[in-house]
Amino acid sequence: MSETAVLSIDRLNKHFGGIVAVKDLSFEVQAGEILGLMGPNGAGKTTLLNMIAGTYSPSSGRVNFCGRDITGLPAHKLCHLGIARTYQIPQPFTSLSARQNILVATKYGGKKAAGMEHDKIFDLVNLSEQKDMLARDLATVSLKRLELARALASNPTLLLLDEVAAGSTDAELPRILGIIEEIRKMGKTVVLVEHVMKVMVEAVDRIIVIDKGEKIAEGTPGEVMKDEKVIAAYFG
C-alpha cells in the first residue's frame, strides 16, 4: 500500500447467500484523485460502495482508509472519520428543510476541522433559493443536489458519489461537471459511480471497470474505453 493512498481495498469479497456480488477486488485511490467505477447493471458497484461506507460488512478482505483498517466499522464512525456518500435515489429527511438537512450532517458528521460554511455549500450546488423549503417539496433535480450538499456538509476526506448525474438532462450536465471540478479543487478524494459517459470521460482521472464483481480493466478513460474486455462486458 502506497503512503498517499486515501482508500485501499484489499481482496474484498461479498456473498449474498450463494450469489457473489464482489469477488477478490483490490485497488487504491490516491489523495485528491477522482476515481470512476464503471460496470454494467448488477456488476457490484453499489455493493462495493456500501462496503466502503459501512452499510455492509465484507464477507472477507480489508478496507483501509488513510492507513487505518476500517473494515466492518459502523457507518456513523466512518462518517466521523471522513467518509461521506450520496445515494443514487436521493434520501433526504423529508420533514426537515434543506437547511436543516445540512445542519444535521454538519452537527453530527463534521466532528473534524470546520468545514465549508452552509451558504457556500448551497451556492456551490445552486440551492440557495430553496434552502428553507421542506425537502419533501423539492423537485428531484434539487434533491440530487441536496444529496451532494449534505455529503459535503460533514466535511469528508473521501466522497463516494453514486450516480450523481443519472436522470439529469444534457443541459444540467455542465453544472454537475462544474460541481465535481469544485470538489476536486477542495482537495477531496472522490470515488464516482456513473453511467453517464460524458461525466466519466471529463471528470475522472482513472477508471476501474468491474463486471460480475470482478475487476476487468483499469486505466485512464481513454484506455478503458478501447479495452476489448470492457466493450465485451457492455455489448456482450
Partner: protein, 291 residues
C-alpha cells in the same frame, strides 16, 4: 332538546380534559415506536411507576406530586437512558423480537417491584386540590381533569419544540425517518435510541403524576393505559404530535359521551372508544392525521 344539550356539556368538557392524560401517556409510546419501531409494552407500567414515585415522595417526604417531578423527571430520564443502553440496545443486536420480550420483562419486573414495595392495594395521590372543582358559568370543572389537559398540552408542545429546535431533536426526527441515512450522516443510532427512551420515561413520570391525581392505581393498573395509548395513536395517526393530541381528546370524549348517552353504562364507556378505533382502522388506517 335544550336540556339535552345542557346535559351534554359536562361530559364533553370532562372528555376533552381527561384526553390530556391519555395524550401524555401515548406520546411516550409513540416516540419510542417512531424512532426504533419497538412497541414498548412496559410503557403503562412505567407510567404507574411514576405514580408510585410521586406517592412515595408524598408519603415519605410530604412533597407535592408536581414538585416531586423536579427530581422525578431527571431520575426517570436517566433510568430510561440506561435501560435502553444496557438492556434494549443489546437485545436489538439479536432481533426486534428479543427487544419486545425484554420490554415484557421490564413490565413484569416493574409490576412485581411495585407489589413488593407498595402492596397490591389501590392508592391515589391525595392532595388538597385533587378533588376540588370550580364553576365557570353553569359548568363545574374538576381541577384534576383540568390539570390533565394542561399537562397534555404542555408535554405535547415541549416535545414538539424539542424535536424541531434542538440538534438532538433533529437527530431523533432524522433517525425515525430514515435510519440508515441518518447513520451515514454521523448519527449514532444507539445514542438516539437511548435518548428517545429517556424522553419517553420522562413523559411517563409526568403521566404518572397526572394519572395518580385522576384515578386510583395499583401495581397492575399499567396495561390498560398501554391499550388506551394504542387506541389514541391509531385514532390520531402515528408520527403526528398534533394527531396524538387530538386522538387523546377524541378517545376521552368517546368514553365520557358513551357513558353519558348510555345512562352511565360502564360497558359502553369501556367499549365505545374501541368501536371508534375499529371504524378508524377500517376507514382510514393511517389515522386521522397520519400520512
Amino acid at each position: 332538546m335544550e336540556d339535552f344539550l345542557i346535559e351534554l356539556a359536562p361530559p364533553l368538557i370532562r372528555g376533552i380534559l381527561l384526553g390530556g392524560l391519555y395524550v401524555v401517556i401515548a406520546l411516550g409510546l409513540s416516540l419510542v415506536f417512531g424512532v426504533m419501531k419497538l412497541i414498548n409494552v412496559a410503557h403503562g407500567d412505567l407510567v404507574i411507576l411514576g405514580s408510585y414515585f410521586a406517592y412515595a415522595a408524598m408519603g415519605w417526604l410530604g412533597i407535592d406530586p408536581f414538585l416531586s417531578l423536579v427530581v422525578g423527571v431527571p431520575l426517570f430520564f436517566a433510568f430510561g437512558f440506561f435501560v435502553q443502553k444496557f438492556i434494549i440496545n443489546r437485545t436489538f443486536r439479536i432481533s426486534l423480537d428479543a427487544a419486545l420480550i425484554a420490554c415484557f420483562g421490564i413490565s413484569v419486573v416493574v409490576q412485581s417491584l411495585c407489589q413488593v414495595i407498595w402492596t397490591p392495594f389501590s392508592r391515589s395521590l391525595t392532595t388538597p386540590y385533587q378533588l376540588r372543582s370550580f364553576a365557570v358559568g353553569e359548568l363545574t370543572i374538576s381541577v384534576r381533569y383540568l390539570l390533565d389537559f394542561i399537562g397534555g398540552l404542555a408535554v405535547m408542545i415541549a416535545l414538539r419544540e424539542f424535536l424541531r429546535r434542538t440538534y438532538l431533536g433533529k437527530a431523533i426526527s432524522a433517525a425515525s425517518q430514515n435510519e440508515p441515512v441518518a447513520e451515514r450522516m454521523g448519527i449514532n443510532p444507539n445514542r438516539v435510541y437511548s435518548f428517545a427512551f429517556a424522553i419517553a420515561m420522562a413523559c411517563a413520570a409526568v403521566a404518572g403524576v397526572l394519572q395518580g391525581l385522576t384515578f386510583y392505581f395499583s401495581p397492575v393498573s399499567g396495561p390498560p393505559f398501554l391499550i388506551i395509548s394504542f387506541g389514541v395513536i391509531i385514532i390520531g395517526g402515528l408520527g403526528s404530535m398534533a394527531g396524538t393530541f387530538i386522538g387523546g381528546m377524541i378517545f376521552g370524549l368517546t368514553q365520557t359521551l358513551g357513558a353519558h348517552l348510555s345512562g352511565g353504562s360502564m360497558m359502553v364507556q369501556m367499549l365505545a372508544p374501541y368501536l371508534l378505533v375499529f371504524v378508524v382502522l377500517s376507514v382510514r388506517p393511517q389515522g386521522i392525521f397520519g400520512r
